[in-house]
């Protein structure tokens, strides 16, 4: 019996607003516990929420970028439950009337494209953090994170493998980061993922019993957890047993999922419209405005770069790994008129320097214009490719323009034929034995002569010219 996995993902992304969703406390990560709190996000008696408009705009951006329909009117609802990291005893979220629904993203899988549906995207507030005492049965509550705005993105159960799920997750991640509405940091918790996974006989329409997976804190872990869970459920079904509907936690160190049965109870959240908040009406004008502010999205950008600059899909992939990197590459390509060469320099030396420094392209000391100039200098023959390797390192370390570095270091390439002939003459005169051997048939010695000429000219000779002249002069006797 062949089984196919059915996977749906629920992603929570923290939005990069300055202030929280319902109060003006800062959202910045890493502050002293309970220092970014106020009576409102702490749920003190008598306080009231007022919605941060930017949260709506950012959610609209994600909705538009994923082809969702934005509802003309939406509402907040209270999700009621008790937990120490939830100061009001309810979370303000959206239930019956979410901001947006029915969208999709395209993923690249097995050499082709597949659409993964998005059921809904809605706004809600984050809860605080609970830390557990190692020795005593106590917990510590930090409410800094309560009220940080989140969007929840719920996918349709359209994924059929752990690979597809990982591809979907990566696609969502890159869109969120491109839109600059989320920093996508899974380790810090600004991008979280829960999964629902079940198995059914291939060809069947009805869904099998599903398990909910939690505690996967990296892309790799999501994929590993799903792969494990699929195997686990397959084993159960093949053994004629029944899969239990439950929540399971991924255990990274052991590489397995553990049942939470017994700890979890079915929650009755008693959702109802929040009477302290009023409906949000979103008209066509606002949608248009937000639509105009959307940047070119990664998929579209890659396709355009491939066509416009004739670079390979692989290169396009690397160069669009961040919006800033793509912008940088395009600027260099445009200014130099040499996109392929620009791509090589950016993907090669530039990225290498940045990675070593753990620097972002936004803080690259080499300005696009400078790199473009360097490329043009190579094309024009003023410097050789080899010299450029030295120059570009200097450009990174000092931020100086290529011309300045060339002048300071006296690295101008020698292209004067007379000067080169002279250098070659001197080399040939100094190595009569090798000349005879070469003329006698040892053609491998050619490289030796090239090296000597380069040494003689302190590396400044134009290699192509050297080759040409050397051949001539060696041939003549």
């Amino acid at each position: 019996m062949e089984y196919e996995p059915v996977i749906g993902l629920e992603v929570h992304a923290q939005l990069l607003t300055d202030a929280k969703i319902f109060c003006s406390c800062s959202t910045r990560f890493g502050a002293e516990p309970n220092s970014h709190t106020c009576p409102i996000c702490m749920g003190m008696p008598g306080v009231l929420p007022v919605l941060n408009r930017k949260v709506v705009e950012y959610t609209m951006k994600m909705a538009l970028a994923t082809h969702c329909r934005i509802n003309g009117a939406c509402n907040f609802a209270r999700k009621n439950y008790f937990y120490p990291d939830l100061p009001k005893g309810y979370q303000i979220s959206q239930y019956a009337d979410p901001l947006s629904e029915h969208g999709y993203v395209e993923i690249e899988i097995n050499g082709g494209k597949k659409r993964i549906g998005i059921t809904r995207i809605h706004m809600e507030e984050d809860a605080g953090k609970l830390l557990h005492d190692e020795h005593n049965p106590l917990s510590y509550v930090d409410l800094n994170r309560t009220g940080v705005p989140l969007i929840e993105i719920v996918s349709e159960p359209d994924m059929r493998s752990a690979e597809e799920a990982a591809a979907y997750l990566r696609r969502l991640h890159e869109i969120l980061v491109y839109l600059e509405i989320c920093d996508g940091n899974m380790e810090e918790g600004s991008f979280r993922c829960d999964a629902n996974v079940s198995l059914r006989p291939k060809g069947e329409e009805t869904f099998g019993t599903r398990a909910e997976l939690k505690n996967m804190n990296s892309f790799r872990n999501v994929q590993r957890a799903l792969e494990y869970e699929i195997k686990r459920q397959q084993y159960i079904l093949e053994g004629g047993q029944v899969v239990v509907q439950e929540t399971r936690l991924w255990d990274d160190s052991q590489g397995v999922t553990h049942s939470m049965r017994g700890k979890e109870e079915a929650h009755d959240y008693r959702y109802f419209p929040d009477p302290d908040l009023v409906p949000i009406m979103i008209g066509d004008t606002w949608i248009e405005e937000v639509g105009k502010s959307l940047p070119e999205l990664p998929l579209e950008k890659r396709e355009r770069l491939i066509i416009e600059y004739e670079i390979s899909p692989y290169d396009a992939g690397v160069l669009t790994s961040s919006r800033a990197l793509a912008d940088y590459f395009e600027e260099v390509a445009r200014l130099s008129g040499k996109p392929k060469i620009a791509g090589n320099w950016v993907m090669g030396d530039v990225l290498r320097f940045l990675n070593e420094d753990k620097r972002d392209i936004k803080n690259c000391p080499i300005l696009p214009g400078s790199l473009a100039e360097m490329i043009l200098l190579i094309e024009g023959g003023a410097i050789s490719g080899k010299m450029a390797k030295e120059i570009i390192e200097d450009m990174y370390k000092t931020g100086k323009e290529p011309r300045e570095i060339i002048e300071t270091k006296g690295l101008v390439q020698i292209t004067d034929e007379e000067a080169l002939k002279k250098a070659i003459e001197e080399v040939l005169a100094a190595n009569p034995a090798q000349v005879e051997q070469y003329r006698g048939g040892r053609e491998k010695l050619f490289g030796y002569f090239v090296g000597q000429v380069m040494k003689e000219t302190k590396g400044k000779a134009n290699p192509a010219l050297v080759n040409e002249l050397l051949k001539k002069m060696l041939a003549a006797s």
Binding site: P39, M42, M44, P45, G46, K88, P137
Partner: protein, 485 residues
């Protein structure tokens, strides 16, 4: 000097004439408190030291000719309003030691207007009640008859004004909690339109019904106080961005040519005959002022109580979930682990009426029951609002009794919650529809117990309420007797 027995406007005249200082006034208020408070128990906490300091400051302002709308006027605050740095209990054990780090917007506004705060008044726990018998801090007695309740939930605020233990006070009204005690204590009480006065800093009971309003000795004082507390607040999403008119301009305008609606559904079996008689008299007075009284119908009246007793507890059950012993207030020491701590804290921290309403509310919202209860009630609520909108097409104001009976005896209804709920029958519809209402004294029973008449107008027509209430008050000339404490 007995300055405490005067009204705001009378005191302002004396202040302007140099016949009284703010310190004189606050001194008389506290002398009166010393004399009668042990019998009335209107207050949970007194702010005596601060009051005298503020009165001094007010006197400096007065001497400098800097008179603000309430400079030097002693005002009491229902203990449901957050006062920065000063204990706010909401009448509950669970907040017995809560000191808010912020002021409610209304408190800020009163302060800016120069008011001097006397203290925090007693109330039914979390505003749930009609008699001020559920307060953790003891009962308040009706100054007119100490064996009777003052009404609720703002019983303390009403009693304080009636007993001249302050000049004016602030209460809150979710189902009648200002108007009903005003009627039972023989003073004026107004519930503004929903969204007219900021709820920021008002400890929430039922968010879509709660409003803050004034208790005053006459309608003029009500207009003066409303001018100060009404207005848009950006800290509340449900605050309405509308300008506040000068409500004093509506005093003495008269109601010649007005049509006043008398809803037939409000004149039912079980209304005390003396109240019925006083209503008939009131109708006569209104007609004597040149208005025409017509019978109108508010067809969904009989469902108001049922709608209220689903919606209010449902919202309350969610609003009170924050009282969990984690961040502030009382925490039971008996809880060894979290679930136990929650249950023991809330069970010991809340009184029986609060628990009853939390139970009803939780049930009404729970899985499987939401449609049948909460959603249904919300739909009927829309019909109730529509009844009023239709009615106001035919009349300028509506007139009803405020309560079905005068003040009942302490302990008389505590064992029968449903009976207790029925005392709100004439006031509840107002909160459901969001319209404003005012209760004005309309006489005394044979036993010397006060009775009130209620006027209602359309949304944001508080000016018209002041207009009809002041016209009625002047013409009715209800004797300005004081309770014989």
């Amino acid at each position: 000097m007995d300055l405490n027995s005067l009204t705001i406007h009378e005191l302002q005249e004396k202040i302007r004439a140099g016949e009284a200082t703010a310190t004189d006034i606050v001194r008389d208020v506290f002398t009166r408190i010393d004399a009668v408070e042990q019998d009335v128990h209107a207050y949970i906490s007194l702010m005596k030291d601060d009051a005298f300091v503020e009165a001094s400051r007010a006197d400096a302002d007065i001497r400098a000719g800097n008179l603000r709308p309430l400079t030097g006027i002693p005002v009491a605050l229902k203990d449901i309003l957050c006062t920065k740095g000063f204990r706010t209990t909401c009448g509950s054990h669970i907040l017995h030691n809560f000191v808010p780090p912020y002021n409610a917007t209304v408190v800020e506004k009163l302060k800016e207007a120069g008011a001097v705060f006397v203290g925090k008044t007693n109330m039914d726990e979390f505003a749930m009640g009609s008699s001020t018998e559920t307060s953790y801090y003891g009962i308040t007695r009706n100054p007119w008859d100490l064996e009777r309740i003052p009404g609720g939930s703002s019983g303390g605020s009403a009693a304080a004004v009636a007993a001249d233990e302050c000049i004016a006070s602030i209460g809150s009204d979710t189902g009648g909690s200002i108007r009903q005690p005003a009627a039972l204590c023989g003073i004026v009480g107004m519930k503004p339109t929903y969204g007219r006065v900021s709820r920021f800093g008002l400890i929430a009971f039922a968010s879509s019904l709660d409003q803050i309003g004034p208790f005053t000795k006459d309608v003029t004082d009500c207009a003066i106080t409303m001018n100060v507390i009404a207005g848009y607040d950006s800290r509340e999403s449900t605050s309405v961005p509308m300008d506040v008119p000068d409500y004093c301009k509506y005093l003495s305008r008269g109601i010649g040519g007005w049509t006043v609606g008398i809803p037939k559904e409000y004149f039912i079996e079980g209304i005390d005959p003396e109240i019925m008689a006083s209503m008939k008299k009131a109708i006569g007075i209104i007609e004597g002022l040149g208005a025409k009284c017509i019978e109108i119908s508010l067809p969904h009246t009989e469902y108001c109580l049922a709608v209220y007793y689903i919606i209010a507890p449902a919202e309350a059950s969610s609003n009170l979930a924050r009282y969990d012993g984690v961040k502030y207030g009382f925490r039971s020491q008996d809880g060894r682990e979290l679930l136990e701590m929650y249950k023991k804290t809330r069970s010991a921290g809340f009184g029986p009426e609060v628990k009853r309403r939390i139970m009803i509310g939780t049930y009404a919202l729970s899985s499987g029951y939401y449609d049948a209860y909460y959603k249904k009630a919300s739909q009927v609520r829309a019909l109730i609002k529509r009844d009023f909108e239709e009615a106001f097409k035919r009349c300028d104001a509506i007139m009803t009794p405020t309560t079905p009976t005068p003040a009942f005896k302490i302990g008389e209804k505590t064992d029968d919650p449903l009976q207790m709920y029925l005392s709100d029958i004439f006031t509840i519809s107002t909160n459901l529809a969001g319209i404003p209402g005012i209760s004005v004294p309309c006489g005394f029973t044979g036993d010397g117990l006060p009775m009130g008449v209620q006027f209602l107008t359309g949304h944001f027509e508080e000016g018209k309420l002041i207009q009809i209430a002041s016209a009625y008050e002047k013409s009715a000339s209800i004797e300005k007797s004081r309770p014989g404490l």
